[in-house]
Symmetry: C2
């Protein structure tokens, strides 16, 4: 039995589209939840979780990173994904570093100390 058939029988448009287009192109922004990621990291952050999945493309000659923010709001969970490909790794990391650096400078100027979140602060 093809597990993709199972997926395509589910109700939402989201899953129907995934079943139809999942291997259409590398850049399609379709996540492939039935394919185990090569590597996965979960960060707990209050009412948010962040996931970092490394996934192969169909050809298995390329790999990409999917960052997911999973957020609990009023008992609903929403997910937001950003796809990142090798050509953009450096610029993306630089832009993130520049942006967080500006926050840290501003907080330092305000005399606010930054304490990284402890694991037990997760609310789920």
């Amino acid at each position: 039995m093809d597990y993709r058939d199972q997926n395509s029988n589910r109700g939402s448009d989201h899953n129907r589209d995934r079943g139809r287009d999942q291997y259409k192109r590398r850049d399609g922004g379709q996540d492939q939840p039935h394919v185990e990621p090569l590597h996965s990291i979960k960060l707990r952050a209050g009412r948010r979780n962040y996931f970092f999945d490394v996934r192969p493309t169909k050809s298995e000659q390329d790999f990409y990173v999917v960052m997911t923010e999973s957020k609990k709001m009023d008992d609903k969970i929403t997910r937001s994904k950003i796809f990142l490909y090798k050509e953009d790794f450096i610029k993306f990391a630089e832009a993130l570093n520049e942006s967080t650096g500006i926050v840290l400078e501003k907080l330092k100027a305000l005399g606010i100390e930054i304490t990284p979140r402890k694991e037990e602060e997760h609310e789920d």
Copy 2:
């Protein structure tokens, strides 16, 4: 005139929700497009753009980073946002670095060279 009234008169559910809840809490995940970000970076990446905005909270005693992926697919533009707060900067950057590092190792093992994207490769 209150600019929030202008927002709340727009048609989409998205904007209505924003008008209603934008200042409800720091962690609400509501972007505030009428408030200029403190700092903004745009990365062009093929049919994607990435944006990094540094924004103040309502109190102006804290700041956060919004990463946005704007993606052009079949002439439709979709946007996906990840919100990042100071408590999670270090772990987020570490997880991103670990994930992209695994991609780079895999590609190295396959003998594939990585060429960062040139500015003119943007399709828009």
